[in-house]
């Protein structure tokens, strides 16, 4: 019926908040390019095409409104990356933030990694709510006092001030990738992380920014023999020696760093044979994997290709254990989608906290949830029309047959410019963040 979430088929989703400009005229710099909750779910980070990172913080639950979890408000905004120019190759390096990954919190400060096509940066986000006052040699505004006027000595003291959140770059990891970085992933050891571009994966130590180890290299000797590229990579959530990377050919390779320094030989290869009946001009494009995510348990992993989401058991390489069709009605439209470049859209996917539900985006600002336990799926829409506070989201349906029922949308009416590529699920609660082109929607489970 209505919902999918948390293993309970009765979950209903309500609108909570929307962030971003209301204008239909979207500035390219405002296009959201990545969304990520931190490990506690208290912080929600977004990156955009303009190279900025915006962090939202959840307000503590108020006693006045127990039926509603805290709202997310802007916590910090900073410019992470700037456009650069590679003079040797005569090409511009976009400032677009491709990925953000939070580090597990160790102290009062928060750390995150953000990356564009070429450079990864480690940012420290810290709070300051006190400042020292009563300096002897300086005025309060910072000007130095005339020494002749200093007649007494006092000890400066910390006094409360308005909360200030500072973001400072602690490390810059650059010049390690020839091709465009598509993924970063922090290891469970909290000391290392990997970065992946089209042809190589590098291993870094978070403390050392002038050295990295290349652990995967699929570049052929002759580039004309290139047949596949790396599309995503992720460390296992529990096993610090294990990582996976997906390819444009629809395969996923699992590698064990204990086996050898260079992990070109995979430990496992996950691939599903192609259905020959579905062969078309675009078979290679739609089988390219755009995202791979381990389940929180580490037992499963999920992959997203253009039309479907697949759940793989790490113990079975021959085929996925579950396959969910996201928008199968697009299969007959692939030619048009190729012409308008939509077929190259890279949709992401995510798990809920207990791995019972998966979510991914689609077109027309639709997003889909698949409940693995109850075998239910639901299509919801992120739109300003449904943005009354705590209004329950109504399931949407795309009509595929000839006869369109009431409230259904025909395939030809779908707006392919409104796409949801990035979604994130709170690690503990049923709170989701869904990014449309330039708006961030936050939905929560309806609590009675």
């Amino acid at each position: 019926m209505a919902g999918a979430g948390g293993g309970n088929s009765d979950v209903q989703w309500c609108f909570s908040q929307v962030k971003g400009a209301i204008d239909d005229d979207v500035a390219e710099a405002d296009i959201i390019s990545t969304v990520e909750f931190n490990h506690s779910g208290e912080l929600l980070a977004t990156g955009d095409k303009g190279g900025r990172v915006v962090i939202f913080q959840q307000e503590p639950e108020s006693k006045n409104q127990p039926q509603c979890r805290g709202e997310y408000n802007v916590y910090s905004t900073f410019q992470s990356h700037e456009p650069e120019f590679d003079y040797l190759k005569s090409l511009e390096i976009e400032e677009k933030i491709n990925k953000i990954r939070w580090l597990p919190q160790k102290n009062a400060a928060q750390f995150l990694l953000s990356t564009n096509d070429k450079t990864i940066k480690l940012w420290k986000i810290s709070e300051r709510d006190k400042r020292p006052e009563g300096y002897n040699l300086k005025e309060e505004d910072g000007r130095y006092r005339d020494l002749n006027t200093v007649t007494t000595l006092r000890v400066p003291v910390f006094r409360p001030m308005d909360l200030m959140v500072e973001a400072s770059p602690r490390r810059v990891f650059s010049n390690a990738h020839t091709y465009h970085i598509n993924s970063i992933s922090v290891n469970s050891d909290c000391e290392t992380y990997l970065s992946a571009d089209d042809l190589r994966i590098n291993l870094w130590n978070l403390e050392i920014n002038d050295r990295s180890f290349n652990i995967v290299d699929i570049k052929p000797t002759n580039m004309e023999e290139l047949t596949e590229v790396i599309t995503a990579a992720e460390f296992h959530p529990n096993q610090c020696n294990t990582f996976v990377y997906s390819s444009s050919k629809g395969t996923i390779r699992l590698c064990d760093m204990r086996a050898s320094a260079l992990c070109d030989q995979h430990a496992k290869q996950f691939e599903e044979p192609e259905d020959p009946n579905n062969r078309s001009f675009f078979s290679e494009i739609i089988s390219s994997i755009s995202d791979v995510k381990f389940s929180h348990s580490g037992r499963y992993m999920m992959t997203r290709d253009y039309l479907s989401v697949k759940i793989w058991d790490l113990n079975m390489e021959s085929r996925p254990v579950e396959t969910y069709q996201v928008h199968e009605y697009l299969r007959s439209k692939l030619c048009s989608l190729y012409e308008n470049d939509c077929i190259f859209d890279k949709f992401e996917c995510c798990w809920n906290g207990n791995d019972s539900v998966v979510m991914t985006g689609s077109y027309n600002n639709f997003f889909r949830m698949f409940d693995r336990g109850y075998r239910q799926d639901v299509t919801l829409e992120a739109s300003r029309e449904n943005s009354k506070p705590r209004s329950v989201l109504k399931p949407r349906k795309v009509s595929t047959g000839g006869k369109r029922k009431k409230d259904e949308i025909s395939v030809d009416s779908l707006d392919f410019n409104k796409k949801i590529l990035h979604t994130a699920w709170h690690p503990l609660d049923n709170i989701i963040a869904v990014a449309t082109t330039n708006n961030l929607y936050i939905f929560q489970e309806k609590l009675n």
Binding site: K89, Y179, E225, L226, F281, E284, I285, C335, Y338, D341
Partner: protein, 279 residues
């Protein structure tokens, strides 16, 4: 095996769209996206395979049809007593047909009006995904049928943005045969036409001057897409040489046909290779 629903006409438009995408990727902000270009080259490969198979099948059908017609005509012409001569010609046909199947491709001879004409051009030397109206022009005027620019390969070097024209000897020969086929149906005797058709590998094809003249006339013709809104077509339409280059790992080695095509095209495609590699 691509679904049979995908016809050669779709393949043509896909090829031109794909080439345009690759061309545009050079000027996109952030540099060439390797992943996207790789996927586009897969579409190119698939479209080319479908197109070649369709064309080859059509040539085969046309040749079979023509052979049947030729034999029928000869039977009418021949003295019933000249049976030895007919047998010899049949043998020649069989042998030459085998050579033809590995040498001629992509160019379908014009028919005599009983079948819908197809654009006559080699995909490997120049791509004119011309729609039906263009073909009608072929039908109307045989002498301009060689307007397919088959004699030259025009290559846009994406590094220097220089357009150069490459004479491709092998393909040049094929084009001569192609032209011969086109022009030969009415004016020539069937026997002579077959001889020209099967000697596509021979450099001294007769009546080259006629074909040259026809090609010169044809050069002035505009090649435009009737159903695709690409204005910058003059370069794009000649860039079919992308087929052989880019990622040779995608090339099918299954048929001799494609091997010959890819080898010849690869030989002249350094610029296009750089278009994809570009790092």
């Amino acid at each position: 095996m691509i679904s049979t629903m995908e016809c050669a006409a779709d393949a043509q438009s896909l090829i031109s769209i794909s080439l345009m995408k690759i061309h545009n990727s050079r000027t996109q902000r952030g540099g060439i996206k390797l992943h996207k270009n790789l996927l586009v080259s897969y579409v190119l490969r698939n479209a080319r395979q479908v197109y070649i198979k369709e064309k080859y099948a059509e040539i085969y059908r046309m040749q079979q049809y023509e052979e049947v017609m030729t034999v029928c005509n000869e039977i009418q012409e021949l003295n019933p007593l000249d049976l030895d001569a007919e047998d010899a010609e049949d043998e020649e046909q069989a042998a030459a047909h085998a050579r033809t199947s590995s040498a001629i491709f992509g160019c379908s001879p014009l028919d005599d009006g009983s079948k819908e004409p197809d654009p006559c051009y080699y995909r490997s030397c120049c791509m004119e995904p011309s729609p039906v109206p263009h073909c009608d022009q072929f039908t109307a005027n045989n002498s301009s049928s060689s307007s397919s620019h088959c004699n030259k390969t025009t290559v846009l070097d994406l590094d220097t943005h220089v357009v150069t024209t490459v004479e491709n000897g092998y393909l040049h020969q094929d084009c001569c045969c192609c032209d011969a086929l086109q022009c030969g149906q009415g004016a020539r005797s069937p026997a002579r036409k077959r001889k020209v058709e099967f000697s596509c590998c021979v450099s001294d094809v007769e009546d080259v001057s006629d074909f040259t003249a026809a090609r010169k006339r044809a050069k002035r013709e505009d090649c435009c897409y009737s159903n695709i809104d690409y204005t910058d077509t003059s370069n794009i339409s000649n860039l079919i040489s992308i087929f052989g280059s880019g990622f040779s790992g995608l090339l099918s080695r299954q048929s001799d046909l494609e091997q010959i095509c890819s080898k010849q095209v690869l030989a002249s495609l350094g610029a296009w290779t750089r278009a994809i590699v570009a790092f």
